[in-house]
C-alpha cells in the first residue's frame, strides 16, 4: 500500500465533497486522513460487501464532524457509489455532516454531540468482550472534545473493566472551533492524564505520518497487560493542503468557493503527478 498516494486521493475526495457543497468541516477532516488510511487499509477486519458483518472491527468517530473524511475512505472501500460524494449535506443525502449509522453504510455509530461517541465505543468494547468475539474497537476523539467530562467517565470504566480491545486516538491538532485549545482550556499534559486514568499511552509525534501511526497501533495491540490504549496523535489541523492548513483557527468549518475548490484540486493533483513521476 502506497500510503502517501492514498492520502492524497482521500484529501482530494474530501475537498470535492466539501467544495461541491461550498462549506464544511475541512480542518478536522484533513487532520485524521493518515489515521483513517492506516486503519481501513491495514488494520481493520471489515467487509464492505457486508457492512454489518458479525465480529468485525469497529470505528467510532466520536469527533463526528469529521464525517466527510470517513465518507471519502468508505467510498474508496466501495461501501457506496462514488456519486454519493457530491451529495454531502444536500437534501435527502446519506452523507450528513456528522456521522449517522442509520444513513451511511460502514458507519458504526451515530456521533456529533461531543463526548458521546467515546462512551458508545466503550460500551461496544464491553459488548465485544461479553461476546468474546475478538474484535478490535477503534475510536477517535478530538483534543477539544477531551474537555467534555463524559470522556473521563468512560475512561475510568474502560480501564476498570480491562477493555484491552479498545484502541483510542486523540486527534491532537491543537485547535478547537473558536481558538487554539491551549488558549481556551488546555488539555495538556494529555499523555499524563491518560496514564493517570490507567490507560496505556502512546504518543505519536508526527500524527500525520502513516508509518508512525501504524507502529503505534501495532504497539497497542502488543501491550502485555489488560488495559485500553490511548494513542495521542500530534497532528496539524487542515494538514495536506496549503490554503486550508494556513487558515489555522478559521479552518474548523470553512467556506470553499469554486475557485478554492479548483485550485485545491489542482494542488493535490500536481502532488499526485509529482509523486507518480518519482
Amino acid at each position: 500500500m502506497d500510503y502517501t498516494k492514498k492520502c492524497l486521493e482521500i484529501r482530494r475526495d474530501i475537498l470535492f465533497e466539501i467544495g461541491t457543497l461550498g462549506v464544511g468541516h475541512i480542518g478536522g477532516s484533513f487532520s485524521i486522513v493518515e489515521l483513517l488510511v492506516v486503519l481501513y487499509y491495514k488494520h481493520m477486519n471489515i467487509n464492505p460487501q457486508d457492512p454489518n458483518m458479525i465480529a468485525r472491527d469497529r470505528l467510532i468517530v466520536s469527533k463526528g464532524h469529521s464525517g466527510p473524511a470517513v465518507y471519502a475512505v468508505l467510498c474508496d472501500k466501495k461501501y457506496f457509489p462514488k456519486d454519493w460524494l457530491s451529495t454531502l449535506n444536500k437534501p435527502g443525502t446519506n452523507l450528513p455532516s456528522h456521522c449517522d449509522m442509520n444513513r451511511t453504510p460502514g458507519i458504526d455509530m451515530t456521533t456529533g454531540s461531543l463526548g458521546q461517541g467515546f462512551s458508545c465505543a466503550v460500551g461496544i468494547a464491553k459488548a465485544s468482550k461479553l461476546k468474546q468475539d475478538g474484535a478490535y474497537i477503534y475510536t477517535i476523539i478530538g483534543d477539544g472534545e477531551s474537555q467534555e467530562g463524559q470522556i473521563w467517565e468512560a475512561a475510568m470504566f474502560a480501564s476498570q473493566h480491562k477493555l484491552n480491545n479498545l484502541i483510542a486516538f486523540t486527534d491532537n491538532n491543537k485547535l478547537q472551533l473558536d481558538n487554539y485549545t491551549d488558549e481556551i482550556c488546555s488539555i495538556e499534559p494529555i499523555d499524563k492524564k491518560w496514564e493517570s486514568f490507567n490507560w496505556n499511552v502512546v504518543r505519536v509525534k508526527n500524527g500525520n505520518n502513516c508509518e508512525e501511526i501504524d507502529k503505534a497501533i501495532i504497539k497497542a495491540k502488543n501491550f502485555d497487560n489488560n488495559l485500553p490504549t490511548m494513542i495521542i496523535l500530534d497532528t496539524i489541523k487542515g494538514h495536506g493542503l496549503s490554503f486550508v492548513e494556513n487558515s489555522k483557527v478559521n479552518n474548523h468549518s470553512m467556506n470553499i468557493t469554486p475557485d478554492m475548490l479548483e485550485s485545491g484540486l489542482k494542488e493535490l493533483s500536481e502532488m499526485l503527478s509529482t509523486m507518480e513521476a518519482k
Binding site: I60, M101, N102, D108, M109, T110, G112, S113, G115, Q116, G117, F118, S119, C120, A121, V122, G123, I124, A125, K126, A127, S128, L130, K131, G149, Q150, E153, A154, M156, F157, Q160
Partner: protein, 309 residues
C-alpha cells in the same frame, strides 16, 4: 411486594431466556432492587459508577452490538441529567435501550426537591422516537415487560421503588400502545397515571355518590398516547380532568390537551404539580400540599362541569 423487587424478579425470568439482556446501574443498584441480580449475573448486571452520561451512551453502544440494555437510576438522573445522551445516542441513533427511572415526582419523599422529578416526562416527551410508560401496579408491569422487550426501540419506564397497591384487577389484555378503561361513565372523564390512579378511583366513588357518572381511564403509556380512546371518551363526556404525579406542563395534562384541542375541544382541568419544585416529606403530606388528593379531583370535576357546554 415492592415494585423494585417485583421488577427484578420478572426481569430475571427474561434474562434466563435471553442472554442479550443486560442491566447498567449508576451506583444505585441497591436502592433500585438490582443488588441480587448484580451478584448472580455479575457480567451482565454491572455498576458503571456515578456516571449517568457514560451509562446512557455505553448502553447505546451495547445495543448496536445486539444487546438489550436497561439503564437504571432515580428518575431525575435517568432523564433530565442525560437528556442529550438519550436524544442523540439512544433515540436519534434508534438504539434498543430501556431506561428505568425510579421514585418519580412526589414519591422521592425524603430525598426532597433535588431528587423530585417534576419534569422527566416533559423532557423526554419532546424527544422523538421514545415510548414513555408508567405502571400503576405490579400486575400491569408484569404484562408490560414482555411487550417492552419485544418492542425494538427506546422505552422509558417511570417506576416506583416501593409497594404499589393492586389497583387494576385484570391486566391480561394489556397493550403497551393502548390505555386502560378502569370505569365507564358519561358525565366526566378522569385521565390518570401512576400513583394518581388510586386517587382518581377514590374520587370516582365520591362522585358516583353525588350522582356524577365518571369515566376513569389510566394512561399508562403517555407517549405515544392512545389518541382514539382519549378522543372517544371526551366526545362522550365533554368534560375532562387529568391527574398526574408530574408538572402539569409537559406531562399528562399537556399530552391530553394536545390531542383534544385538535380533535375534540372540551374543558380540561388539571391535577398535578403546578409548575413548582418539590420538597421533602411523606407522600400523603406532599399530596395534600400540592392538592393532589381524591378530594381535589372531586373539586376540579365540579369546576369542569360548570364549564361544560
Amino acid at each position: 411486594m415492592e415494585m423494585r423487587k417485583f421488577f427484578s424478579n420478572e426481569l430475571e425470568k427474561y434474562m434466563i431466556q435471553n442472554s442479550n439482556i443486560v442491566v447498567l446501574n449508576a451506583d444505585l443498584a441497591k436502592p433500585n432492587g438490582f443488588q441480587d441480580l448484580s451478584i448472580k449475573y455479575s457480567d451482565r448486571v454491572f455498576n458503571v459508577g456515578i456516571a449517568e452520561q457514560n451509562m446512557a451512551c455505553m448502553a447505546a453502544g451495547m445495543s448496536s452490538y445486539g444487546f438489550i440494555p436497561f439503564i437504571c437510576s432515580f428518575t431525575p438522573f435517568a432523564t433530565r441529567r442525560i437528556c442529550d445522551q438519550i436524544a442523540i445516542s439512544i433515540c436519534y441513533a434508534n438504539q434498543n435501550v430501556k431506561i428505568i427511572g425510579t421514585d418519580p415526582g412526589l414519591t422521592a419523599e425524603y430525598n426532597g426537591g433535588t431528587h423530585m422529578s417534576v419534569e422527566d416526562i416533559g423532557v423526554l416527551r419532546s424527544i422523538p422516537n421514545i415510548v414513555i410508560f408508567e405502571p400503576v401496579d405490579n400486575n400491569q408491569l408484569k404484562y408490560a415487560l414482555p411487550e417492552i422487550l419485544k418492542y425494538n426501540g427506546p422505552v422509558y419506564i417511570r417506576m416506583l421503588r416501593k409497594e404499589a397497591p393492586d389497583i387494576i384487577n385484570n391486566s391480561s389484555d394489556f397493550n403497551l400502545f393502548g390505555s386502560k378503561i378502569i370505569k365507564t361513565g358519561t358525565d366526566v372523564t378522569i385521565f390518570c397515571s401512576g400513583i394518581m390512579t388510586s386517587e382518581a378511583i377514590r374520587a370516582g366513588e365520591i362522585l358516583e355518590s353525588q350522582n356524577i357518572s365518571t369515566e376513569i381511564i389510566n394512561i399508562h403509556t403517555i407517549k405515544p398516547i392512545d389518541k382514539s380512546t382519549v378522543i372517544k371518551s371526551a366526545q362522550k363526556t365533554k368534560a375532562v380532568i387529568t391527574a398526574e404525579n408530574h408538572n402539569i406542563i409537559g406531562g399528562l395534562y399537556s399530552a391530553v390537551c394536545e390531542v383534544l384541542s385538535e380533535n375534540c375541544p372540551v374543558p380540561v382541568k388539571s391535577i398535578g404539580i403546578k409548575d413548582t419544585f418539590g420538597q421533602v416529606g411523606k407522600l400523603d403530606y406532599l399530596k395534600s400540599v400540592y392538592n393532589m388528593q381524591a378530594d381535589d379531583i372531586v373539586k376540579s370535576v365540579h369546576e369542569v362541569l360548570k364549564l361544560k357546554k
